[in-house]
Amino acid sequence: MKGYIEINKELCKECHLCIYACPKGCITPAKEYNSRGYHPVCTAEKKECSGCALCAVMCPEVAIEVYRE
């Protein structure tokens, strides 16, 4: 099963609960800033997302949308 996520970087508050929840390590911290001064998370390019939605279930800010093929 393949999938992908879309992260709304303006909503992210850098709590990293999505990184804690992701079983495949698909999400990593980023160095860039968003407009409120947080470092939003981003998807790791080499890892394959299965679209399990555990990161989105855990995200307090509802910043993640999940798509599954």
């Binding site: 929840a21 679209g51 307090p60």
Partner: protein, 257 residues
């Protein structure tokens, strides 16, 4: 063609939450919004936010909301439910609101068996005012007013609301969950849905207690605070269903009719 499997619930507004990073309130707000969407009760739901961190819940939930005085949510919910029996009335309260100043209102509305739903967020401290000791603070936990840890001889024991209210004959459905892991969040959603369904079926008082991380006032990272709920807090506040009389009440109603 990719299919969207998770997105923002319809009755959650587009506003950015004012909560700290990793706060459990935002997860609980989303779960309430998802349940309201799934049950199709957006037009009839009436929410009552507390005084506390979630005081601005009406900025996020796109349903009718009315602010109650500090701790008086269950009393107000009882009144609204009696005047508008078709409305789905829920009160969203924190531990300072429900277990401290509002314990009389919550206790007696539970004892009267009012047909309302209470979402009770337990984070073991007073969040909004800066992390003072709450009635639910566990023994030996350090807060700004108990810098040496909560001492049972001077500050007493943590109040266990689910155990307390489940001993009352008036209550129908009481469950305690936690939002510290994806599995816990899914269980919490089921519990909230069941509590709302209990009210829709007219079965009586339902309460869902949610153990929620407060990384700022626990002075931990969000991930550490999720682990702390597992290792320490859920030992004092065990998770599970404390009372579920929904089928018994349903059967006795059917037999009577």
């Amino acid at each position: 063609m990719a299919k969207k499997v998770f997105s923002r619930p319809k009755c959650l507004k587009e506003a950015i939450f004012h909560y700290c990073p990793g706060c459990g309130h935002s997860i609980a707000h989303r779960l309430v919004a998802e349940v309201i969407d799934e049950l199709g009760i957006r037009g009839t739901a009436i929410g009552i936010p507390p005084a506390g961190c979630a005081v601005l819940a009406y900025n996020y939930l796109d349903v009718d909301m009315i602010e109650a005085q500090h701790g008086r949510g269950p009393a107000m919910a009882s009144g609204i439910k009696r005047m508008l029996p078709d409305g789905i009335v829920f009160s969203y309260q924190g531990d300072g609101d429900l277990a401290a100043i509002g314990i009389a209102e919550s206790f007696h509305s539970a004892n009267r068996g009012e047909n309302i739903t209470i979402i009770f967020i337990n984070n073991a401290v007073y969040g909004m005012t800066g992390g003072q000791m709450a009635p639910t603070t566990i023994l030996e936990q350090k807060t700004t007013t108990t810098p040496g840890g909560r001492n049972k001889t001077s500050e007493g024991y943590p109040v266990k609301v689910c155990e307390l209210l489940s001993s009352l004959d008036g209550t129908t459905y009481i469950e305690r969950c936690a939002v510290n892991s994806p599995a816990g969040v899914n269980k919490t959603k089921k519990a909230i849905k069941k509590a709302f369904q209990c009210q829709i079926d007219g079965l009586g008082f339902s309460l869902v207690e949610i153990l929620s991380p407060c990384p700022t006032n626990w002075k931990m990272t969000p991930i550490d605070s999720c682990k702390w709920i597992d290792t320490t807090m859920s030992k004092v506040f065990p998770l599970g269903v404390f009372k579920d009389n929904t089928t018994a009440v349903k059967k006795s109603r059917e037999a009577a009719s």
